[in-house]
């Protein structure tokens, strides 16, 4: 058993993939814990799709993908926030407009490239096994910055999430924190793109945090649990995909979803089984 698990570690590409997947699992879970409480899950989905034209543009100029993705994602995130404050439109409407518009632009640019580019398909569905050394270093730096910001401002972010009026009146700059958080989501998505792909990254952000929320009523524990679940499912999913020879990003997301459903069914607080037992003993 142990030999079987250690075997793939002989391949450098697999070790790199493991490191990338664990990093993505950790950063997504930490940021996702705030995201689900702020009701920004769809925002995550929108920003990831909006990163696509940036990835294609980076490919066209042979630059690192994460720079292009970061520019496109951060700009879109801030634009959604900015328009939401000014135009009298619901934020989900603005998300709908920019999300499809930016993704459409990316597909348009993609289709204009005359030759087949498999690399870009990797960004749609994730290709963590193909991650290079330089990419991994870049992602680790970007992920580290995100974690550092959250470590510095976790209290302020929590207060502004829970009660923006109370936080604002007592001196926290809630508007700045809102924009900062959108930028954090965008950076997190950039870190995750190569591992799980544009289409599935929203699951990395929401599912571990949502699973943790079924298990605890304190935010600190929620984030810790989400991080453990994020890292665990990323590593577990990667192994599963290796042995089953299926797509890695998709496998990680499916593992997360199965865990969520299991906790929903069996969990101590919201578990359907616990509830049925209560009904029976009542």
């Amino acid at each position: 058993m142990i030999e079987t698990l250690l075997a793939p570690l002989g391949y450098e590409f697999f070790v790199r993939a493991l490191a990338a997947a664990a990093l993505v699992g950790l950063v997504c879970a930490v940021v996702g814990s705030y995201m689900i409480l702020r009701g920004l899950s769809y925002m995550g989905d929108a920003i990831s799709h909006a990163a696509f034209p940036g990835v294609v543009a980076a490919y066209l100029v042979s630059g690192p993908f994460y720079v292009g993705a970061a520019i496109a994602a951060v700009l879109t995130a801030l634009a959604i926030g900015w328009i939401g404050r000014r135009a009298r439109l619901r934020s989900d409407t603005i998300i709908g407009v920019l999300f499809a518009g930016m993704f459409g632009l990316g597909v348009l640019m993609f289709s204009a490239i005359p030759t087949y580019v498999g690399d870009l398909f990797g960004f749609l569905f994730g290709d963590v096994l193909g991650i290079g050394v330089m990419d991994l270093v870049g992602l680790a730096v970007l992920g580290g910055i995100v974690l550092l910001i959250v470590a510095a401002l976790w209290k302020q972010l929590l207060y502004a999430t829970f009660d923006p009026l109370g936080a604002g009146a007592s001196g926290l700059n809630v508007t700045a924190l809102d924009y900062l958080f959108l930028a954090i989501i965008a950076m997190t998505i950039v870190v995750s793109l190569q591992a799980v792909g544009i289409i599935l990254v929203v699951a990395m952000l929401t599912t571990p945090a949502a699973t943790a929320q079924l298990l605890t009523v304190r935010f600190g524990r929620l984030m810790g649990l989400a991080a453990a679940i994020g890292i665990g499912t990323a590593i577990g999913g990667l192994y599963a995909s290796y042995f089953l020879d299926v797509a890695s990003g998709a496998t990680i997301v499916v593992v997360q979803t199965l865990l969520f459903l299991a906790v929903l069914a069996l969990g101590p607080r919201t578990g359907l089984i616990a509830r049925m037992r209560q009904v029976r003993t009542a």
Partner: protein, 324 residues
């Protein structure tokens, strides 16, 4: 705890300022028609120095609203330090908007706001704001302790966790409101009164000089109302300023020293006996006032009620306590 030299003890004499006194544009109606005005509304000249010295909050010609909806029009008032004041008026009359303007949460369209001698936000650490219960996500994964601890967050810098002095403040605030036993309870499992207690504890933990409380005693049991008002009275006695909105006139008359009647503009501002004044009530509530054989019965329009359970109607009688 009142070692802050900027906040003196409350003045022995009552300073009550009528709305419209600082009215720069002359657009607001006179406070109370042309009948003989009580002393509080007669108006006397306030010099800038006087305001600077006495007032925690000064509003001058404030107009404010959301999008293109005007909620406050030409509101002027000065609230002295150490005042326990209830803001009352009909739903949609601008009570909550006024609190948001003072708290720096909503920029007024016109006019100036001064809080402790500066624009709102400059002295934000000295301000604690408590939102209406309806604006809180009670499923949020935080315990009572966590919520009260948030009162300390603005004074903590980046990377800083709670210090011993912060934990002490949180613990004693929970004690004061009688919620120490529920410190580890998730907030959604509390009763309505307990929820209000916890949020007042958060404000107390911040050790502010100005409390801005949106409906702090709405829909709570009489015991909780008594307890919370006792705490607020004690805070006011220490020189802290308490501004609370309410639509409970009985509570306003019974527990507050001053009231500010608002229906988009200031209708009256003065001692809490004003809520017994039929003309003030008539002008504040307009069409929602019924006069029945000498008893003034106030019908608060439930359809515009943003915080009452569906279908609930509120009846307030001008005799404090008579509706209980």
């Amino acid at each position: 705890m009142t070692d802050d030299p900027r906040i003196g003890p409350p003045e022995p004499h009552v300073h009550a300022h009528a709305g419209g006194m600082h009215d720069p544009g002359g657009l607001a109606p006179p406070p109370l028609g042309d009948r003989a005005l009580p002393a509080y509304a007669a108006g006397h000249d306030l010099t800038a120095a006087h305001l600077e010295h006495h007032a925690a909050v000064v509003l001058q010609g404030i107009s404010a609203g959301y999008d293109d909806r005007l909620a406050l029009e030409n509101v002027s008032a000065a609230i002295d330090a150490g005042t326990l004041i209830a803001v009352f008026g009909p739903n949609g009359g601008g009570k909550s908007t006024l609190l948001k303007v003072i708290g720096g949460l909503l920029a007024p369209w016109r006019g100036t706001v001064t809080v402790f001698g500066a624009r709102p936000g400059v002295h934000a650490r000295r301000v604690a704001y408590v939102p209406q219960a309806e604006q809180v996500d009670w499923d949020f994964p935080v315990t009572c302790w966590d919520v009260v601890a948030m009162g300390r967050y603005p004074s903590l810098g980046p990377f800083r966790g709670l210090r011993a002095v912060d934990r002490e403040a949180v613990g004693s605030a929970l004690d004061v409101v009688g919620m120490a036993d529920h410190a580890r309870t998730q907030i959604g499992r509390l009763s309505g009164g307990q929820r209000r207690r916890v949020f007042l504890a958060r404000a107390l933990a911040a050790e502010p000089d100005l409390y801005l409380l949106d409906e702090p005693v709405t829909g709570v049991d009489p015991t909780t109302q008594e307890d919370l008002m006792e705490i607020l009275e004690a805070e006011a006695a220490r020189g802290r300023t308490v501004v609370a909105t309410t639509h409970d006139l009985a509570a306003a008359a019974e527990h507050f020293r001053q009231v500010l009647a608002i229906n988009r503009s200031v209708i009256a501002h003065g001692p809490s006996t004003l809520v017994l004044d039929e003309e003030v009530l008539a002008r504040t509530y307009g069409g929602h006032l019924l006069v029945l054989g000498g008893n003034t019965v106030l019908l608060d329009d439930a359809h515009h009620h943003d915080d009452a359970p569906r279908g609930e109607r509120h009846f307030h009688v001008d005799d404090p306590g008579a509706h209980r």
